[in-house]
Amino acid sequence: MESFALLAAGTHASWYLLPLALTVSLVYSATRFEHRPQILRRSVRLFCTILVSMAALFAVLFLLSWNL
């Protein structure tokens, strides 16, 4: 298991957003709706919203830190 932790440590932390956003989207949507296609459709929408929001936040912070 130590090798797993070391392997994980070699990956950029930002990539961990993807599985985290995916599970949050799926579980959140599953607890909002009962209808299966609706859960999946809303999950995709929430997943994209999270990614776009984080990308926008990243862009703002990147610009604010320009030439610092």
Partner: protein, 288 residues
């Protein structure tokens, strides 16, 4: 108001089941899709976080100065996080201190150092350590056995005997400290050196046990920001399961989306989307 189209059965029992094992509350209610989806998502997130943190990020340690203890979120994963409470009791127990005798026979891989009394430098020792409890008239209970392996890349077999010093039994550290004399072959045997190192701790003595201060600092040094990331994964898993428990007890916030979900509203004649009557579930809702 509960949606009559959802088979809640005994919803409080479903809530307890959802707490104990994520997704099982929904499976009990016959809501298989949601049960499997939530269970898989919560458990994968939780165990992935644990693996990322070297299986040492979920534990209960009372800290009056820290009101934001991560375990307050992790505990909502239920059974997979509850052993922490037992392990915390074992860790804080009066008997969980350094030991001067071995609890039983030990046959385990070893790594550490060897200091011979006639040399100033330590040698790096790796190999197999075999010890069993014994009794000497002069010293009382001792440990006796052998070390077989390499010291500074030279193959050796050492006789071990004496009162050992073992680290505490329960801790998150995967290795347990041991310290024992190396003896010669004379009669009576004389201590000619000291073997100091670690051997693997038993799984149930480290799983979800609180870490010692030095191991906690080592882990931080080794994992860096991934320690926090691992903690975050396990905490988010617990927080997500709160939503799952509420869904098992109260039903989904928007139910079938009648009137509140733009996806389900009619969009005019000829549209593929159709409105769902308030009292009728969608044709495929019973499956989900």
């Amino acid at each position: 108001m509960l949606d009559p189209r959802i088979p809640f059965k005994n919803r409080y029992l479903a809530g307890v089941l959802a707490f104990l094992f994520p997704g099982v509350g929904h499976v009990y209610q016959g809501r298989y899709f949601k049960g499997i989806l939530c269970g898989v998502c919560v458990l994968v997130t939780f165990f992935y976080g644990m693996a990322l943190g070297d299986w040492s990020v979920v534990y209960w340690k009372k800290d009056p100065t820290n009101f934001l203890n991560p375990y307050y979120a992790q505990v909502f994963v239920g059974l997979p996080a509850l052993p922490s409470l037992v392990q915390a009791r074992r860790y804080d127990s009066r008997t969980n201190v350094d030991q001067l005798r071995i609890p039983g026979p030990i046959n385990a891989p070893f790594h550490g150092s060897l200091r011979m009394h006639d040399r100033t430098a330590d040698g790096i020792a790796t190999g197999q350590i075999e010890l069993k409890p014994g009794n000497l008239p002069a010293e009382g209970p001792v440990a006796q056995g052998t070390f077989t392996g390499h010291v500074d890349k030279k193959e050796v077999t050492l006789k071990l005997e004496g009162i050992p010093k073992l680290g505490k039994a329960v801790s998150a550290d995967p290795d347990r400290e041991i310290d024992i004399d190396v003896i010669d072959g004379g009669q009576p045997p004389q201590a000619i050196g000291r073997l100091h190192g670690e051997y693997p701790r038993q799984f149930w003595d480290r799983f979800e046990a609180p870490p010692d201060e030095h191991y906690y600092l080592d882990l931080h040094g080794k994992l860096g920001k991934f320690h926090e990331l691992a903690m975050t994964f396990t905490m988010i898993a617990g927080l997500l399961n709160i939503l799952v428990i509420l869904d098992a007890v109260e039903g989904p916030a928007y139910g079938y989306g009648d009137g509140s979900d733009p996806d389900r509203k009619p969009t005019g004649a000829g549209s593929e989307k159709t409105a769902v009557p308030p009292t009728q579930p969608p044709p495929d809702a019973a499956k989900s």
